[in-house]
């Protein structure tokens, strides 16, 4: 029981962490609430399914094709659909909703609304302290750890990371320091979509693939970023594991009421917001200060 909860929390939390970090990055830098974020996650999962099951490629070439393709699509969507209307906040929000609906409907049209699955990328078990863990789950954990550390290093150590953080703090001053803000935002969108695609690739064999698979992760990601504080990477990671713990415990401890997992996750968020209106590690933005 407890080992199930721990493993489930780590795997689900890892996937949510990847998604939430991307969402948080794009919100922090471009102030865009990107509802289409998990849409790219869904596209990558469907792409993997298409290449492995329909075309018959191996897992490695499929991943090599799919991850850059989805990343490129994210950058293009940002460049041609979101960037031109960035000053209209409501319009941007609606645009991202429309984008994700287009994804959902085109996936329904191409693959029908059935549930699909793909085989594990690596099979078998490993014994850890007497608990047998699926190798696929270990793969998820490993990839999540590597990717998050890589993102952390990029943000903390490289010139690009400094540019990203400067843009998040104050776009005008960043421009004065010689940083090209539009280019930085496009790179941010690229990183965010890349994280979503990686999350999809590692988790697609565990979760089922269907046209509405974007909506539950989206709700959870929104809960996580609010819980952790919008725009805060640390908050997104910690929030992801808190919410995953809540969700997995509800699913395992009371299976007949698994619909309540969203309720409990949201309750956790509401409690945090009532105690700390800015989230756990909230970044207060100048124009949003009370």
């Amino acid at each position: 029981m407890i080992e199930q909860i721990i493993i489930g929390t780590l795997v689900t939390g890892g996937v949510y962490a990847l998604l939430a970090v991307g969402f948080s990055l794009i919100f922090g830098n471009a102030r865009v609430i990107n509802m289409a974020h998990t849409g790219f996650f869904m596209l990558a999962a469907y792409g993997l399914y298409y290449f492995i099951r329909r075309i018959g490629l191996g897992a490695a070439p499929a991943i090599v094709i799919i991850v850059p393709a989805v990343t490129l699509l994210g950058i293009l969507a940002y460049r041609f659909l979101i960037n031109p209307i960035r000053e209209h906040h409501a319009a941007v929000l609606l645009m991202t909703v429309a984008i994700v609906l287009v994804f959902q409907e085109s996936m329904t049209a191409v693959f029908s609304s059935k549930y699909w699955s793909i085989p594990s990328l690596i099979s078998g078990f490993t014994d850890i302290l007497g608990v047998s863990v699926l190798n696929q789950h270990l793969l998820v954990l490993g990839v999540v750890a590597v990717v998050i550390v890589a993102v952390w290093l990029i943000l903390a150590r490289t010139k690009l990371g400094i540019a990203l953080r400067a843009t998040a703090q104050d776009a005008e001053v960043a421009t004065l320091m010689g940083i090209s803000v539009p280019r930085t935002l496009m790179i941010t969108m690229g990183i965010a979509t890349f994280l979503a695609a990686v999350a999809a690739v590692v988790v697609a064999p565990i979760w089922t693939i269907h046209p509405a698979m974007w909506s539950l992760p989206l709700v959870m990601v929104l809960v996580i970023v609010v819980l952790g504080g919008l725009g805060s990477i640390k908050g997104a990671i910690i929030g992801a594991f808190i919410i995953a713990l809540v969700q997995v415990s509800v699913a395992i401890l009371m299976p007949s009421y698994s619909y309540l997992k969203v309720v409990f996750a949201i309750l956790a968020m509401v409690i945090v917001l009532i105690v700390r209106p800015g989230g756990l590690f909230g970044v207060m933005f100048e124009e949003e200060r009370l």
């Binding site: 319009a91 609606l94 609906l101 409907e105 970023v225 619909y259 309750l267 968020m269 989230g279």
Partner: protein, 350 residues
């Protein structure tokens, strides 16, 4: 009296093309059943008029007072579910269920405004989005009472005939839109709410410094928004004869946002235009799923929304209004597009 009406008509209505279009449109809606009273046509128009109330109430709450609510389906769904439960367990008729359902939605509006007062910006939006999802979880968890994903069927219709139902909804819609238009009219001499909502949205600190109790007005915005969304939800449950979890879904909340932003946010006519283009026209063009358009309705709607947002990010209705009307730079009076100088002060129009 008659002379005053004629004067209003001559100088307040005729020179402004936008108002002529609005009047002609509403008159057309009232005479449509005389021309075509097929069940399908009237059903589409009836549901559209209820969605208009829903969308306009979102515009009032989120567009005007700036409390961007991602969970407007909460009011709609709560009211619809109260109607269904009242009918199922107490066997109440529409004249009783609709007011009670609406009041429940108002109560929920007050309750949601409590956390909303502490938060602002994206935090508020995301928090409000969570509420209908919580309720959705509860509906699914208590299946024996709420019917789970199958909902509650068998709610009686509003009136015996479809024409009667159509007219009830149309009249309620017209009256609600007029009330909300008056409530949000910033230029009104008698009702201050419009001006105050604008002030709260633009700069809350300045509004407070001017002696406005912004807390009360924010709660008022939630109450009004909840009232009209609840009214729409209660009527919708009666018109469709069933409630289901789709009333509380994220899609329902986003439908309100789609209509409003498509038509033009912070304008009462924007959502009306949005609903009648995106909902009604697409339904008729789709012929109830008979052709390609009908089977891929959401896809086509999303593509239209994307194209419209790129080319007219202010919204369709605002874009059209800017094409056919011009505001006098000196006296702020609206003029038709054909005029070279203002009709009141004859200042040249650029």
């Amino acid at each position: 009296m008659l002379r005053r009406l004629f004067k209003d008509f001559r100088f307040g209505l005729l020179p402004v093309p936008g108002r002529i279009i609005a009047i002609v449109f509403f008159v057309a809606l009232f005479i449509i059943p005389l021309i075509d009273d097929s069940k399908y046509t009237l059903f589409v128009l009836t549901t559209s008029s209820l969605l208009v109330i829903f969308a306009v109430s979102w515009d009032l709450l989120s567009g005007y007072s700036g409390q961007v609510n991602f969970g407007h389906a909460l009011f709609f769904g709560v009211s619809a579910y109260s109607v269904a439960l009242l009918h199922k367990y107490f066997d109440l008729q529409p004249w009783a269920t609709i007011p009670i359902g609406t009041l429940v939605a108002v109560g929920i509006g007050v309750v949601t405004s409590i956390p909303a007062l502490r938060l602002r910006g994206p935090y508020l939006s995301l928090l409000t989005m969570a509420f209908p999802l919580m309720l959705l979880g509860l509906v699914m968890a208590f299946k024996p009472w709420t019917g789970g994903e199958f909902g509650i069927p068998g709610i009686p219709p509003l009136a015996g005939t479809h024409v009667g139902e159509y007219y009830i909804c149309l009249i309620v819609m017209t009256v609600s839109v007029l009330i909300m238009w008056k409530l949000t009219d910033a230029g009104s001499k008698y009702i201050r709410t419009g001006l105050i909502f604008h002030a709260i949205r633009e700069d809350e600190i300045a509004a407070r410094a001017s002696g406005i109790n912004t807390i009360n007005y924010k709660i008022l915005a939630f109450v009004i928004g909840g009232f009209f969304a609840g009214l729409a939800g209660a009527l919708y449950a009666h018109v469709l004869g069933t409630v289901s979890i789709s009333y509380l879904s994220m899609t329902m909340s986003f439908r309100a946002i789609i209509y409003v932003v498509f038509g033009g946010i912070v304008s009462i006519y924007g959502p009306v235009v949005g609903v009648y283009i995106l909902q009604t026209l697409l339904q008729f063009a789709g012929q109830a799923g008979q052709n390609f358009l009908g089977q891929n309705q959401i896809l086509i709607m999303s593509v239209i929304v994307i194209l419209v947002l790129i080319f007219m990010p202010e919204g369709v209705a605002v874009w059209i209004r800017d094409k056919i009307e011009r505001e006098c730079p000196r006296c702020k009076l609206t003029n038709g597009f054909w005029r070279k100088e203002c009709r009141a002060c004859s200042a040249p129009l650029r």
